[in-house]
Amino acid sequence: MAMKRKHRRLSFIALGLLFLGSAAALILTAFEDNIVFFHSPTEITEKFAKNELKPTQRLRVGGLVEEGSVTKTADGATNRFKVTDLNKSIVVEFRGILPDLFREGQGIVAEGRYNNAVFIATEVLAKHDETYMPPEVAEALKKSGQWKPAAKEK
């Protein structure tokens, strides 16, 4: 009898975890759009084309700063650059101090509103990838042509 009770408790816990796990998976899948921290330029242009997102909505765009796209506008304080996912790119304008890691080719996330094909950002955050190495190693990799740019960045 005692053995039986142990087994009952064991199967109860196993079943309970199975149900809870499936419930969690369903909930997380259903709310995927709310859990993602940012959208790619492709998603944003597509969703605007389909009217799923509106210019009044605050949203975040994430991607790489396009090479050679960083400029300042006429007022001298607004940064203007393109964020790309290597498929589509979006023009971002940001008035303020950019993070230290901000540079061309770097992953960034900008928060703001997308209106008339310009993303007016109120905040720009830098993203870095999962690779860690000393500067000399990075230099050597670049010289030998083994350097792989952060193309897999989402």
């Binding site: 309970g16 921290f37 890691l101 830098a126 993203k127 870095h128 999962e130 860690y132 190495m133 500067p135």
Partner: protein, 240 residues
């Protein structure tokens, strides 16, 4: 094996031998790890000197999850087999795990400001780790919320088991969703994306953190078992 450790006297005897060993491993690996991390390892090509935060932050985050899995597993053993020592291991693990989680959150925040440009964002990784911290706190509150200790232990054990669902969510959050936090550098399918000169101090620190957990766990479980003995003696004395 469960039955073997169910005997508190045997557990006390075993841990009294293991405790000094855990202490020595902690002191050696943490000492060496900190020396390598702060003086002997190179700066990062992107983050320069700020990368040294990794050696404190990453093992803390690993231990936060390791402790939670230990907490949930020993809670399950305690609940299913009515295993007294497993219950004490779970109870003693919770505050240690909560401290590791707090350390991971705090150092992550300090690291996030200079690198990302923000102390905190509500992305999937950061949010799920914050939930982990609340699970630890909830476990400790629930454990002590009942007049009858066994009821508190059972309620808290159920919470610990339910919360284990959060652990894979933390681990894979950076792959399932877009996050500001970067994906895993060490524990991933195609090998670590971290240079050996930085991986060595990181792993030394990880061993140090793990040994520290066991060291503190042995102290806490032994204290708990001895307190139980004292309580039992008092009751016997009072009953005459």
């Amino acid at each position: 094996m469960f039955n073997y450790f169910a005997n508190p006297t045997r557990f006390l005897r075993l841990t009294s031998k293991l405790q000094p060993f855990a202490m020595i491993v902690t002191l050696i690996t943490m000492g060496a790890g900190l020396y390598y991390a702060l003086f002997q390892s190179p700066p990062d090509y992107q983050q320069s000197e700020t990368v040294r935060m990794m050696y404190v932050h990453v093992p803390a985050a690993w231990m936060a999850m390791f402790c939670y899995v230990t907490l949930a597993a020993s809670s399950a053993v305690a609940l299913i087999w009515r295993h007294m020592v497993a219950d004490i291991v779970a109870k003693s693990t919770a505050p240690i795990g909560a401290c590791f989680t707090f350390l991971a959150l705090a150092t992550g925040s300090l690291w996030g400001k200079p690198m990302w440009g923000t102390w905190w964002v509500w992305d999937a990784r950061l949010t799920s780790v914050l939930i982990l911290f609340f699970l630890y706190l909830g476990y400790m509150v629930l454990y002590n919320a009942f007049d009858e200790p066994t009821r508190g232990a059972r309620a808290a054990a159920i919470l610990a088991i339910v919360g284990v669902i959060n652990v894979p969510i933390i681990k894979f959050s950076v792959e399932w969703w877009n996050t500001l936090h970067q994906p895993a550098s060490v524990v991933k399918l195609d090998g670590p994306a971290i240079h050996p000169s930085m991986l060595t101090p990181l792993l030394l620190m990880a061993v140090g953190y793990t040994a520290f957990y066991f060291w503190v766990l042995f102290i806490r479980t032994r204290a708990e078992l001895n307190a139980n003995k004292v309580r039992a003696l008092r009751i016997r004395q009072a009953e005459g």
